[in-house]
């Protein structure tokens, strides 16, 4: 009942993940919030026989940076990587739960979970917390059973979709239109639609993150790129703006 009468300043929940206004708005009652916003951007691109999952490595909260080396890509199997951004506590717990479920599956079924199966499982895990959600924006990148690249993007309560490319996290609204244009060839007329090669895709991902670091305060420090092919997972780290 008290929570209804308090004055919600900009620090409240109407404004997802942005900074508090440090000016006087009147007397405000602060209730404990189980959520915090730790920033970060993740991106995944699927190609013909490869998939790329990339994330920045900055961990922030409000005006502070907690760490410059906290990548948000987690390796799940030899052919699947998940990128999680949002609230870091929920990201850690969620990846632990997924790892445990992967092990259980391996022990009962004697095979590793495919990317599609992991995506379906994650959807039910997230929906199980429909009334107290994990504040995590997930993107899974990997190879499907036929060896083609697959990207699955999620919302915090478990709705998911297979895509060709997706950006999630704090700079997602800036990066997604850029990806729509460069990979999806949207909003252009009379353009030859060439499929994306692995080298071009990696270069595009680097350029896109450099742009994101320029304009989004929560993105920067370094970029971790995981390239998934049938040979395995190759990781690269590229420095970004530190300011």
């Amino acid at each position: 009942q008290l929570s209804e009468t308090k004055m919600l300043s900009a620090q409240g929940f109407g404004d997802p993940g942005k900074m508090k206004d440090y000016h006087y708005t009147g007397p405000v009652e602060h209730k404990f919030s189980p959520y915090a916003f730790n920033g970060g951007t993740v991106l995944a691109v699927a190609g013909e026989d490869f998939a790329i999952v990339a994330s920045d490595t900055r961990l922030s909260e409000g005006y502070s940076i907690h760490s410059r080396d906290s990548p948000k890509c987690y390796k799940l199997t030899d052919t699947t990587v998940i990128g999680c951004s949002g609230f870091h506590g929920d990201c850690l717990t969620l990846t632990k739960i997924i790892d445990a479920r992967l092990k259980m599956y391996k022990h009962s079924n004697n095979k590793t979970m495919t990317s599609g199966a992991i995506a379906a499982m994650l959807s039910t895990i997230l929906y199980g917390r429909r009334f107290f959600p994990y504040y995590v924006y997930n993107i899974i990148g990997g190879l499907d059973e036929e060896g083609k690249g697959a990207v699955y993007s999620f919302d915090p309560v478990g709705s998911y979709q297979r895509d060709t490319y997706k950006a999630g996290g704090s700079a997602s609204a800036m990066l997604q239109p850029l990806l729509d244009n460069q990979i999806g060839f949207k909003n252009m007329e009379g353009v030859e639609q060439v499929p994306l090669t692995q080298d071009k895709a990696v270069q595009l991902v680097k350029d896109v993150f450099i742009s994101a670091a320029e304009r989004d305060v929560y993105t920067g420090d370094a970029l971790r790129v995981c390239i998934i092919t049938k040979e395995g997972i190759n990781e690269q780290t590229i420095p970004l703006r530190k300011d």
Binding site: Q1, S3, E4, G12, F13, P16, G17, S33, P34, Y35, F37, G86, T93, K96, I97, A100, R101, M104, S108, S123, T124, I125, L126, Y127, G128, R129, R130, F131, F132, P133, Y135, S153, D155, P156, V157, G158, S159, Y160, Q161, D163, A173
Partner: protein
């Protein structure tokens, strides 16, 4: 999923379910059993639970009292969920048409421009979804699983009315919570026969413990087989009809449909009417847009029309209007 249940495989794994062992194992934390509306301890396994998901509720001030989470005790979410849509369905002489746009919006952002809002459940049933994206997706999965289980157990397919009843009963425990699901079941019933109807009614009577809020379908004149269109929503409504449109763009779609719908439409005319309705709705409603999906269900099953980008339609329409305007100016 369905086969696992038949073999009772799931029960053995039940105590390993992530949020019963990895979450706070304090014995004072109980989990709300939504189907039977009672608290149960975390370790007890439920035989053959009808809703295969266990929901974790946040600890609240009055957790001692027995209540469903409502707005004053739930934790406020710091992010918006996807909502907003235009879907429609209607019956005509050639079967059932189901059409929907493909935009999923979360607050002011288009979360995804290419969502599938129409999902096939089986060869003669298609479901259009509206409301919260995650809720619709998961409940459709649960419905598909339950229909498949019914088919495996009773060696015949459940009728569309039975499916709607089942869905409505499964959603009933979540009435009053934030679950927002509005589905239109569009399908074709294949067999007629009184014994089939009695069987499905008695199945639900014995299973359901709290049938107080069930809406009765008082439509005894409709045939047992043939096209069916039933609207089910998480508020508890279950309505059978000939034309439904759901979502933020539905008023615009209703306007176009009411103007042009006749029983005697040919298949092409019906498809073009459905397309036009979705197009006009996407034009006026901010939360609908991008493409239009169209399904046609007949006695042979469902068939999907290729997804069409409405951008082309909009330019064609603009072209036509400017031509009319030029014609009018010439005549004056």
């Amino acid at each position: 999923m369905a086969l696992e249940d038949i073999c009772r495989f799931k029960d053995r794994h039940h105590k390993w379910f992530p949020f019963s062992s990895l979450e706070d194992t304090d014995t004072s934390l109980y989990m709300m059993d939504y189907f039977n509306l009672r608290w149960r301890g975390l370790r007890t396994s439920e035989k053959n639970s009808a809703i295969p998901l266990d929901f974790f509720t946040p600890p609240s001030a009055n957790s001692a009292s027995f209540c469903l989470p409502n707005h004053s005790t739930t934790v406020r979410r710091p992010f918006p969920l996807s909502h907003g849509t235009t879907t429609l369905g209607f019956i005509f002489q050639g079967g059932v048409i189901a059409a929907a746009d493909t935009r999923a919006s979360a607050g002011g952002l288009v979360a995804c421009p290419a969502v599938h809002k129409i999902t096939p459940i089986h060869s003669h049933l298609v479901v259009t979804s509206s409301g919260s994206g995650a809720d619709c997706m998961l409940w459709e999965r649960i419905l598909t699983r339950e229909i498949r289980l019914y088919q495996l157990r009773h060696r015949r397919r459940l009728s569309i009315r039975g499916t709607a009843k089942l869905l409505s009963f499964m959603l009933h425990p979540f009435k009053g919570t934030e679950v927002c699901v509005a589905l239109t079941l569009c399908g074709w019933d294949k067999e007629a026969g009184d014994c089939a109807k009695d069987l499905e009614d008695s199945y639900f009577m014995s299973d359901e413990s709290s049938s107080a809020d069930v809406t009765r379908i008082t439509d005894s004149t409709s045939p047992k087989s043939g096209p069916k269109l039933i609207y089910v929503c998480s508020d508890g409504a279950r309505l059978q009809g000939d034309i439904f449109s759901v979502g933020s763009g539905s008023p615009y779609a209703y306007g176009v449909l009411d103007g042009g719908l006749k029983w005697s439409l040919s298949k092409d005319e019906a498809i073009s009417l459905a397309r036009e309705a979705v197009f006009r709705a996407t034009h006026r409603d901010a939360y609908s847009g991008n493409n239009v999906d169209l399904f046609h269900i007949t006695a042979q099953g469902w068939s999907q029309r290729k997804r069409e980008d409405l951008k082309e339609e909009y330019y064609r329409d603009m072209e036509k209007r400017s031509k009319d305007r030029r014609g009018k100016i010439k005549r004056e």
